[in-house]
Assembly symmetry: C2
Homo-oligomer: 440 residues x 2
Amino acid sequence: MLQEGQQEDLVALLSDLHPNDAASILSGLEPDEITAITALLPVGLERDIFEYLDSEVQESIIAGAGRERLVRLIQAMSSDERAAFMERLDERIRDQVFPLLNRAVREDLIRREQYEPGQVGAILSTEYCALGADLTVVRAIEEVRRQAPDKETIYVCYVVDGQGRLRGLVSLRDLLVARAHLTVGEVMRTDVAMVEVTADQAVAARMIRDYDLIAIPVVDHDQRLVGILTHDDAADILEAEETEDIQMMAGITVDEEAGSYAAEGVLSHFRRRVPWVVALAVMFLGTAAVIQHYEALVTGTLLAFLPMVMSTGGNVGAQTSTVVIRGLAVGQIDTRAILGVIWKELRISGCMAVVLGIVVFVEVALIGSHDGSTTMAGVALAISAALAVQIVAAALYGATIPISLSAFGMDPALVANPALTTLCDLSGALIYFLTISLLL
Amino acid sequence: MLQEGQQEDLVALLSDLHPNDAASILSGLEPDEITAITALLPVGLERDIFEYLDSEVQESIIAGAGRERLVRLIQAMSSDERAAFMERLDERIRDQVFPLLNRAVREDLIRREQYEPGQVGAILSTEYCALGADLTVVRAIEEVRRQAPDKETIYVCYVVDGQGRLRGLVSLRDLLVARAHLTVGEVMRTDVAMVEVTADQAVAARMIRDYDLIAIPVVDHDQRLVGILTHDDAADILEAEETEDIQMMAGITVDEEAGSYAAEGVLSHFRRRVPWVVALAVMFLGTAAVIQHYEALVTGTLLAFLPMVMSTGGNVGAQTSTVVIRGLAVGQIDTRAILGVIWKELRISGCMAVVLGIVVFVEVALIGSHDGSTTMAGVALAISAALAVQIVAAALYGATIPISLSAFGMDPALVANPALTTLCDLSGALIYFLTISLLL
């Protein structure tokens, strides 16, 4: 359509679509085509679509747009989107654009800079609907109607006093069903879930999920309302948080500015992945030294099954830590319940130890060999005993390490599963050699 | 308060709290105390709190409540909560209660039984707000106000024709800002994101997240509106989905009825964890056979570093598959981009291979020993070459297996990371022996 000059049809088409779909279509085009099309769009529509574009496409649009257009786009954004956008902007462009923005926008951006990247204050929206407690329900609905076009949500309204302190909230539904002569103060709810502006974004997002909220109000230390966080932003925060947890568990360092898989460069991927792998390879020196020391002990079948005992322990340990880390993350496990969790994992891994002891006994009987000083049954028994001990030990590490980290206020996912596996490798080698020395 | 007979104060206290907080308090009490308290509550409040209780606490309440009370509780629930509740109910109790429910409730439950557990139809809410296209905006707002008390959400209203087909939607915000004389048909949006009733719940939930919706309409194959799925249910679905993905990746079988960590019994935990561990222990027979076959080749330092080469490959493979599986799950990676992903992972793992090759060379030089037929540098070089090849191979498995599963319509998380680790162990052993045979 662009090539055929049907510019009006193109704009009409894009404005009929959901901005996310329009963004998907644009993403499939060449950078210069995208720039040409976005230049045609009204600034409100460009803003709506822009929000859904990948950061690489956003960058190419920014590179192609004039400074004036960029300023209009930034000013049209909602306050939270704008803050996130400015954060990602190249420093040179940011310095050029900032003085051109209008004063209210500049002040909003400066106020946000007080907060750390992970705090609610850095991403809250200031476009909330505020009402006075002494308005009647009829007047309040009129007021909501007046504020509707500019607000992030109008379905929850916040009641503040003269000092701007949060006194309660009233949903639009409450207003619509309330009798007309009542005041907002009479129909509002006063038991309001709220977060402080310095709180962790993930904590705020989790409250929205746990309490099934449309938005959560954000207050300063004097309980003055400073903004809101909405359910759709909460969903994005939790998704990013879960991606971080999953990657941490696989031994990948978290970088909040890494971007999507495709947008992140090879070197950045490499930098986030190599540290744990190198650290574990170095820790493996211990295991290698143990094996070298006991070398004479392991020959033939005993050698062949050593890696299996090590790895199976790693598998069980990773299962346990995964379940425990996830349980902690979604609030199903309390750090105070550590003894209960350990006792449960002991019983679970006890069952697994019995089953796998039998499995490996049969395996050794199948492919094993033995020399004059041992019997086949003796070799099989020693290996299966070592595996059983290793499995229970691995489950213990998997349960205690994440809960301990969490009890000390750290992220339980910090104990990457590869680290646990490496610990299981070392402990597996030791258990193996000790058991064999004892039994054979 | 219960012991002191302050029953009214207790009810007043619980009704002032958010139901989630009231549920937390109740959960800390003994089963008979919980039963005594819930019997005091008005049925609407009991329903609100009930929704937030763990399934074990719910069960003890059900066990303690009379049949009549249970029927009133079930009838007071929203249609989606009720369906989920009946699903979890003990079959014997369900059969007793079902005939006592009123007809509309029974019909709703029967209609849902057509759908599989993971389909949208099984959990949709039928309490949506429907409007005719020819209503004026003023009349429509009146209608919304009338329907408000009974609906799951009134903030999005659905416009249906005489046959019940979905024609568009209008948000309450749109209605409030529209001029009063317009009709709903004139202000509604017609480009509506919707899902079919047989669609996967996770797909519907992801659409709500991607399009930042408050709810998504659910239609049958004739595009007749049959219900909605709301954003808070979507958040719960996605959280459950992510827990499943994380557990699958750790080699834990998914059981949708397993419940929370604490609620699930030791035997159920054991049943979900043991299959992969046993399967992998059996697959390890291959690795054990390979090691046994090449036994004569590996002595001293060469033996000590074999597990390290196997494990480091496993770590790299697990990192790659984690990133790829997550990228597929959140839509950052497209299965058609398989070649691009493989090329990227080849470059990333190439960098890692160089770094780790150097690390292991130094390690061998530090603690290694050699016999007359080899030199220290030769041993170190052979081991570091084997490790480098192993790392690149592991990244290839980690990238191709999940994308291939996804391309065939399967869940990429099905390739549990322990399975990948075991594959890396086998391939690591083979690469190690081949490299050593070639170089030494």
